[in-house]
């Protein structure tokens, strides 16, 4: 039920408007002057105000100005209804923020038509404000969910690196937005073996984060995991080969399951012998930087996880010796493009890693990221940047 406040010091004007507007089923309030008008407007918050100008105590112009200053009443449409019919009077009224100006003596039909129009406009404006509020709240909730997903993801990332004689490890992780699609880990499997892996799930945001969590669960160090199997004979466990790990992931994560695919490089290092066994599903090739400065790219690989064994996976072997370094990374590094859309690329990456052979492993990681930043010339990375490294010390 829409409410209208009628303000006029002349009782005959008020009576006439009351008779006209009652026929259209509005709830009406009346005021004789600006003071009464303000009191009623602020307490009843009518949907429209019909305002005379010439009134004692506080005239219509003053009243309109005050209505527009008050936060609670400033959006209520005001229609001036006045015998002051000069153009300058109308301009003044409209400049004070009135929605309309009708001159007296007024035509009944005109008053009703304009009242209806402005009530409708006001209703629409309020709906818009409400819809906007709703939208903002939904967005806020989305942002909160995104932040929560990021928190979960961060909790999956290692906070420490393993401490193993003769080996040092390092990693860098820079997600591109609140919730990244990359996950990685380095940890001992047993006394002699260490596993290193990076997973890169397609897409970003909450859907990608959910898949990375699911994958991380499969690959967790203890409990129900695919990276170690129980067996009946001593030592009662068997380390799952990289090939088998990748095959099992492919079984468990067909693309139809989450409409996501992911790449993974999964590597098991025997710390006693320096032997590496690895499997790669669509991921950038790991890099060995020899003590001599020579590079070996570990190129054995298959396609991404999720396509259902369309192309068979393979397992590769490599050997590291004291003085060698190994780097795993995600395509956020090589596919980082600068303002001119030029990619950083493998060549630059290889050059950087060889160049930094002389500085410490940790410093080499920082150096690489600095070089990336300089290359980007201030542009933000388009994708997560993950770097996992080890050095077989002398």
């Amino acid at each position: 039920m829409e409410t209208i406040l009628i303000v006029d010091d002349n009782a005959d004007n008020r009576n006439l408007l009351r008779v006209i507007l009652n026929k259209h089923h509005y709830t009406l309030f009346e005021a004789e002057n600006g003071l009464e008008a303000m009191a009623i407007a602020t307490s009843k918050l009518p949907d429209l105000i019909l305002l005379d100008i010439m009134m004692p105590i506080k005239d219509g112009y003053e009243t309109c100005a005050e209505l527009k200053r008050e936060k609670t009443t400033q959006d209520i449409p005001v229609i001036f209804l006045s015998a002051r019919d000069e153009t300058s009077d109308k301009v003044k009224g409209l400049e004070l923020g009135a929605a309309d100006y009708i001159t007296k003596p007024f035509n009944k039909a005109e008053v009703v038509a304009r009242v209806k129009t402005h009530l409708k406009l006001y209703g629409l404006a309020r709906s818009l404000v409400l819809a906007n509020e709703n939208l903002k709240n939904k967005q806020k909730k989305l942002d909160e969910d995104l932040a929560a997903a990021a928190q979960i993801q961060y909790s999956l990332i290692p906070s420490t690196v393993p401490e193993i004689d003769h080996y040092s490890f390092a990693y860098r992780f820079e997600p591109s937005d609140l919730s990244g699609g990359d996950i990685f880990n380095i940890h001992r499997l047993d006394e002699s073996n260490v596993v290193m892996y990076i997973v890169d799930v397609s897409g970003h945001g909450v859907p990608a984060a959910m898949v990375t969590v699911a994958v991380a669960q499969c690959l967790r160090p203890h409990g129900r995991t695919i990276i170690k199997e129980e067996i009946d004979t001593t030592p009662f466990y068997k380390i799952t080969t990289p090939l088998d790990v990748v095959c099992k992931l492919d079984e468990q994560f067909p693309i139809e399951r989450f409409e996501k695919f992911f790449t993974i490089v999964y590597l098991v290092l025997n710390t006693k012998t320096g032997e590496i066994r690895y499997s790669n599903a669509g991921h950038p090739f790991p890099i060995i930087v020899r003590k001599s400065g020579q590079l070996e790219i570990l190129e054995t690989g298959g396609t991404v996880i999720g396509l259902g064994d369309v192309v068979p996976f393979e397992e590769g072997k490599a050997q590291i010796h004291p003085g060698d370094r190994l780097y795993l990374y995600t395509d956020g590094i090589v596919e980082f493009s600068d303002k001119d859309e030029e990619y950083f690329g493998e060549d630059r990456l290889y050059q950087e890693l060889v160049r930094h052979r002389a500085i410490s492993l940790d410093e080499s990681c920082d150096s690489l990221l600095d070089t990336l930043r300089v290359f980007g010339k201030g542009l933000k990375p388009q994708d997560d940047i993950t770097l996992v490294a080890l050095e077989y010390g002398l």
Binding site: A11, A83, P105
Partner: protein
């Protein structure tokens, strides 16, 4: 003078007695204001008549109000007096038909 016939909407019938009383008061107030040479008050009363008449179907009240306001603002006191008396006479000689 002969009476003026006004055709007025039946919705307004119950307001008319009050309206007539107020107009008669306006005439009394106009005479007093003029006697006091309070031309601002005369203009205000004329302005008010201008605004209220037409809505009720009393177009002549609007007309007279406009002329009184004009005349008082231009210092034509004699004309104002004539207009007031003309208004009074007209108010006394109307026939209303509701429809």
């Amino acid at each position: 003078m002969s009476s003026v016939t006004l055709y007025i909407e039946s919705d307004l019938e119950e307001l008319i007695p009050g309206f007539m009383q107020n107009r008669e008061k306006d005439v009394r107030d106009l005479r007093i204001a003029l006697a006091n040479n309070d031309m601002d008050e005369v203009a205000l009363l004329g302005h008010s008549l201008k605004g209220v008449g037409g809505g009720y179907g009393f177009d002549f009240v609007t007309e007279m109000g406009r002329e009184i306001e004009e005349a008082s603002k231009t210092g034509q006191n004699v004309l104002v007096e004539q207009l007031i008396e003309q208004l009074a006479t007209m108010l006394d000689n109307i026939t209303i038909i509701y429809r």
